[in-house]
């Protein structure tokens, strides 16, 4: 399958997904996995699209609708495809007073433990005067909770709360 990764970003408003996907559908493109989220009031989406057509053909389909909606877009040919899910076995929750470098520190420690991040969400909440950083990470690692906790331990002394818990996915 000849998948392409299509990314669109811009000012959020109702109807973007409907108009973009309608243009793709009319152009003969199908969707695979997608991820849309609003970041700082902006619309962001990444979509696996496939139409057995060229990059130029995708550009011709998307450019008009992106222009109409005031969106910037980017497309990349991609390796891989569907049905390649990896089930996370650990969750890491982080929160603390917002300061530069939290993500780099936490994920750096996780990477040293061979932790592969599968999902990461972070947000700045609280008040303007006292911003608080909250992050949740789900991922996979061939290690133990204790090992991960130990590797992240130093951060806790820097007024960041880090909590590691195993994820036991229930199959029923």
């Amino acid at each position: 399958m000849n998948w392409q990764m299509l990314t669109l970003v811009g000012k959020d408003r109702p109807g973007i997904v409907a108009q973009v996907t309608e243009a793709l559908y009319q152009g003969g493109w199908t969707l695979g996995e997608t991820s849309m989220i609003r970041l700082g009031g902006n619309f962001t989406i990444m979509m696996m699209v496939n139409g057995g057509q060229s990059e130029q053909a995708l550009n011709l389909v998307i450019a008009p609708v992106a222009d109409r909606l005031g969106l910037r877009f980017h497309q990349d040919p991609m390796q891989g495809g569907l049905h390649q899910h990896c089930v996370p076995n650990f969750q890491v929750r982080v929160n603390g007073a917002d300061r530069a470098g939290i993500v780099a520190e936490v994920t750096g420690k996780l990477a040293e433990s061979g932790f592969n991040i599968l999902e990461l969400n972070s947000d700045v909440v609280g008040s303007l005067e006292k911003p608080v950083y909250i992050m949740t990470i789900q991922g996979y690692a061939e290690t133990t909770v204790e090992t991960l906790e130990a590797s992240l331990g130093r951060l806790e002394s820097e007024q960041i709360d880090v909590h590691v818990s195993p994820i036991e996915t229930l199959i029923g």
Partner: protein, 180 residues
């Protein structure tokens, strides 16, 4: 003994409400043996419900005694006509399903439940469950009501908004998809 075919989404039979078991007989016991053999034949499932193999009757099996990290559990349970009578608390957890291959997602379930049911020979049973076992029970009882975990998926950001969720489902978290 036989391994039965697992129905998979979007088979419409998975969306049916199953009937109460009325006849507690030899045939029922034989079916339960097949159901258990089917559960054990696939990928590490902690539970299975009769509708997943196309039998529209209220029969489930759960066994939470073999998790990686031990959890409170009652061992292997075969429950006929199970009915949850009390729900308390809520928590987010990741679930998958024999009937929905290649997908897992987050679902809110009650943390603690009380239930009554019958054993395969018809005698009444009562249980209190918590945590992972309560989750498994709720997942399987959902199958009896034609509900799959994908009908209860929550956003990946939901756990950042627990207060809102709590207001919605404090009374009965498991019922929100059914009633809402």
């Amino acid at each position: 003994m036989a391994i039965l075919e697992i129905l998979e989404l979007p088979d419409p039979r998975l969306k049916e409400v199953a009937d109460e078991v009325v006849d507690f007989n030899e045939e029922l016991l034989a079916f339960i043996e097949d159901l258990e053999e089917t559960r054990l034949s696939g990928p590490a499932a902690v539970g299975i419900a009769a509708p997943q193999v196309g039998r529209q009757q209220r029969i489930i099996i759960i066994d939470c005694s073999t998790t990686r990290k031990p959890v409170p559990n009652h061992g292997r349970l075969v429950l006929v006509n199970p009915e949850i009578t009390e729900w308390d608390g809520f928590e987010l957890g990741r679930e998958g399903c024999l009937s929905v291959p290649d997908y897992t997602g987050n679902v809110i379930r009650a943390e603690r439940i009380k239930l009554h049911a019958c054993c395969p020979t018809g005698e009444p049973l009562e249980y209190e469950m918590e945590g992972y076992e309560a989750r498994a029970l709720q997942h399987e009882v959902d199958h009896l009501d034609g509900i799959l975990f994908v009908d209860r998926l929550v956003s990946r950001r939901t756990d950042l908004f627990q207060r809102k969720v709590y207001q919605v489902c404090a009374k009965n978290p498991a019922a929100q998809g059914r009633d809402g």
